[in-house]
Symmetry: C2
Subunit: 199 residues, 2 copies
Amino acid sequence: MSTAAPATAFDTRTRILNLAEELLLARGFNAFSYQHIAKELGVKPAAIHYHYPSKEELGAAIIQRQQRRLRKWRDLPRVTELTPPQQLEALLDVYRHRAARGPQVCLFGALAADFLTLPAVMQQELRTFSGELTHWLAGVLAAGRADGSLRFIGHPFSKAAQVLTTLVGSLQVARVHGEEQFHYILRQLRTELLPPSAA
Amino acid sequence: MSTAAPATAFDTRTRILNLAEELLLARGFNAFSYQHIAKELGVKPAAIHYHYPSKEELGAAIIQRQQRRLRKWRDLPRVTELTPPQQLEALLDVYRHRAARGPQVCLFGALAADFLTLPAVMQQELRTFSGELTHWLAGVLAAGRADGSLRFIGHPFSKAAQVLTTLVGSLQVARVHGEEQFHYILRQLRTELLPPSAA
DNA sequence: TTGCTTACTTACTAATAAGTAAGTACGTTT
DNA sequence: AAACGTACTTACTTATTAGTAAGTAAGCAA
């Protein structure tokens, strides 16, 4: 009856991108190959090259999609209308979700380690993506401190950089030491940022 | 006259380990090869295999050496006799040094991204190394809060995990966004941990 | 029905990877 | 002088990598 396709029925191009992203976050850019994707998808490696001629383009497409998602999510009325603490919590949820998915780190954490081996295009796109995220969080923190709903010392931009840096690291720690360790770190972050009344 | 060899005259085995470590921290475990080391050293790849039969053994040797260095440094009278804030500062100096060396992340940050592709031996050794470092820092933080020289909320172990996580991430951020960004993050860390009187 | 486009497969290349086996040059010991 | 261990090199194998070129089957358009 429904004209909507089932959730698994993405077109090949999208399925490649999904799988490549999953492999990237699980294994790093240099440790996944067109063969991995092809085998999992039940096609030949050349089929991946048809959709994404080079690995550089595939990698860039992954960053670009995350960039689009960030902008879309950030500008959603459902998100812009939240209070600063709620916006912070919504951000933390993104990382909690990754941690719960087991061995996935975030895009930044996956690419930063391999950064010097990445094509220049991907390096630049990662900088932009990460810069925009930091800028957004700095705004949230500044607003939160202004209305008394968040507490921290120092410049909002420095604090935003520090919080995001901690989140990047926390998913790597989760991979090595388990999810429990990740939650200790996040609890510490929340305890510090939320004023006692709200905790 | 002096019987001491010049600093560059390490034996091949040590030079291999030095170079492998450098390449690991710059490029990640999967993006450096026996060929890279051999070419830089002016020998053939098989010579590397003579000293370190497999890449797994080479990688494990790198972690083991860092582990030995950590224990030695931590137990040095010159270090144990420092006050907690000074011990913290000494730890930060290790990371500052890496950041200044340009594109090097820390051992944990380099291996965590590739963690799922690492041999089991290396995974276990990284866990031990990181666990010991966290344990040490937790002790420093607890002592510092007890004598009023450091301030933070929450459990010392949680705070230690968070601080180290931030340091792991900060070197990755430095690689992507430059050293300046790294110093913002470290300044934020110090400002929060050192009580106003000491800042 | 002819021709074009899409989405592939088959079959390949060239480069690089880790790892091995056999040989060699040199210094030390016996 | 003979034997041995150390520290390699040469020459190789097997596997995997990204990437390419040519062919093909199916669907749609003119």
